[in-house]
Amino acid sequence: MCGIAGFHRSPLPAQGYRELIDGMLAQIEHRGPDEAGCFLDDRTAMGTVRLSIIDLSSGSQPIGTPDGRYWLCYNGELYNYRELRAELTRRGVAFRTESDTEVVLTAWATWGRSCLERFNGAFAFALYDTSTGELHLARDRFGKRPLYVARHEGAWLFASEMKAFLAYPGFEFDFDAQQLASAFATWTPLPAHSGYRGIEQLPMGEYLTIRGEETERGRWAALDLAGGTPPATEEEAVELVRAELESAVDVRLRSDVEVGVYASGGLDSSIIAHLTKERAGLPPRTFSIEFEDAQFDESAEQEELTKHLGTHHSTVRVSDSDVVETFPEAVLHAEVPVFRTAFVPMYLLAQHVRSEGIKVVLSGEGADEAFLGYGVFKDVQLLSKWHELDDETRMKRMAQLYPYLSHFSGEDEHRRMLGLYRQFAEETMPGLFSHQMRFQNGRFAVRLLKDAGDPFAAVRQLVAQEPGFAELTPVQKAQWLEFKTLLSGYLLSTQGERMALAHGVENRCPFLDPAVVRSAATVNLRFGDPFDEKYLLKRAYEDVLPERIVRKGKFPYRAPDSAAFVRSRPDYRDLLTDPGTLDDIGVLDARFVRRFTDRVFDSPPERIGTKENQAFVLLASTVWLHHWYVRGNALRRAPLAVPLYVVDRRSSALPA
């Protein structure tokens, strides 16, 4: 795992490229503290900070083809690199290293851009063709690794994290009010959005080629939510799921360093821990978060699992004040507005994992999206059939939706809910049927912004432009939206990758192997009760995991939110309402921010509901983002801590 950064076609004199690239890489050194390297010529400067995982001795970057034509700065892992290497070797390629990076480079040199379709991995890279002067940027199919692109005074800037841009001369951050409104309403920035003007995120499964003044962009991987021909029997479906997950874990155990597992105590990570033990032949080291506040804690399930598997387990215990005190630092790494605090304990967990000497962890991320684990999938099944059902059936289904929420548990609540659900049984937001209720709830946070416009215009446009979206079933549309918004925009990025890489820890997600997602799409809703979430996953592993974990049902991972701030840091009332700050931020509605903040700090915690908590965290993260990025306090003054290996192809006329 690594971080990349660079610029292309900059009007700045090439004599200064080395110092500039050093500064940009220093901003993201936490992603790859083991080595640093760069490639420079008169048009382009690009570099890598490396976290050594595969081929520790000779896998350094940047790496070029023997003829010196292609140069690659690569962030990620190519899980099927051994198979591709074998295929390329059969074609006569002689490899110089054992690294997956050289396989990526050689695959591009051999097959061109179509090599992307052969890749099973988590990656983002910049590949420079010195012959044509083209710069190719590409990102993996599910958006596991980040890649941001910005235009600045004629130059193209790119980096794994936006903070690298702060080191480029004259680059300044400025909030984009429309993107913030969209993020506040839909919980996360949309795939191409960053939250800031002039910075774009390369969307999952897409590439961008910069060719002189022209660009070419496109998608190399689409989400396959239809799957293949379903097996005839449930037993065959179970076998299919097991086989694909075993392969997915096998390739993700490829590493020259030890691989650990995040074990939350839930079904998904328990399956991964079990498979890791089975495939590696010995119990892995497991890591989890223990909350002091019992309402968030799952340590009993974690203990049951780790005893059952015999893993070497360690936990990090997190209190309310830990979350509050670590929040600013975690926001610095998140880089985008955040709607809940659950990413903060993940930051502390990654810190703990790294302190234990572990660089790679497997996690259960993606299972809920692939195997329909979220309530929104049951919601949309109920709503899309609403008019065919009687009240008794509707109420029975409601009881299966969110049993862990108080307002969804009890006959009176289900009866009252009938009127609410009936309203959402009609599509009023084109293309967003499954998410109407969630997105409507997001409107509250949008009130924090002035001049917000229509916060749903961008997401409506996203689905309207998606080829084939209209033909998907209501559940598949919901899946598509989950993959494109919450998964890539928050779970994989803010809560996952960014928190792990802040401490030089690489996370790998077997449930997001393309074959696993395809097999899930093949079997979803074809067997069992559709209101029993992740039915086939439970069936597949009920005989090897503790019954308590299999039967527990969905317990969303959450962390202390506004009440923790109110209790432990009353000064946040002033921090969030400081007139100078609000005036400087510009996009916030200062009047509503003050009213809202007063209400949160003056109300008993039980009066603060989900949408208020989300608004609070969005507000607090925006204020910290302003501090770090708009005011520029995220700029690190220290140079790279490791020596910079330089491939210098600048013209000989330039001084060395």
């Binding site: 969804f408 009866r415 009252r416 009127g419 409107r443 949008v446 009130r447 989900t610």
Partner: protein, 90 residues
């Protein structure tokens, strides 16, 4: 039995306190409170429970949101109508 004007004032106060907003030129008494970002499912269930408790009406599918927008004025009209129907049926 409370009168409609009293009911109006009381519901308005309850909603402002419960849902952290104030009726003003932006969110009026006729605004759809879902679309205004005031009501979510948790708030909706709390509001229904409060109305059932305070005004003696029962909600089902064809209740509040089935026929009227979730505005303060719509809610008050609905409660008044439901109570009249209850009184007439006695």
């Amino acid at each position: 039995m409370k009168q409609e004007s009293e009911q109006y004032a009381e519901l308005k106060k309850y909603m402002e306190e419960q849902f952290m907003f104030e009726f003003d030129s932006e969110i009026t008494e006729d605004s759809d409170l879902f679309k205004a970002g005031v009501l979510d499912s948790f708030g909706y269930i709390s509001l229904m429970a409060h109305i059932e408790r305070e005004y003696g009406v029962k909600f089902g599918e064809d209740a509040l949101l089935g026929n009227v927008s979730a505005s303060l004025s719509g809610i008050v009209d609905f409660v008044a109508s439901a109570r009249r129907q209850t009184a007439e049926s006695r």
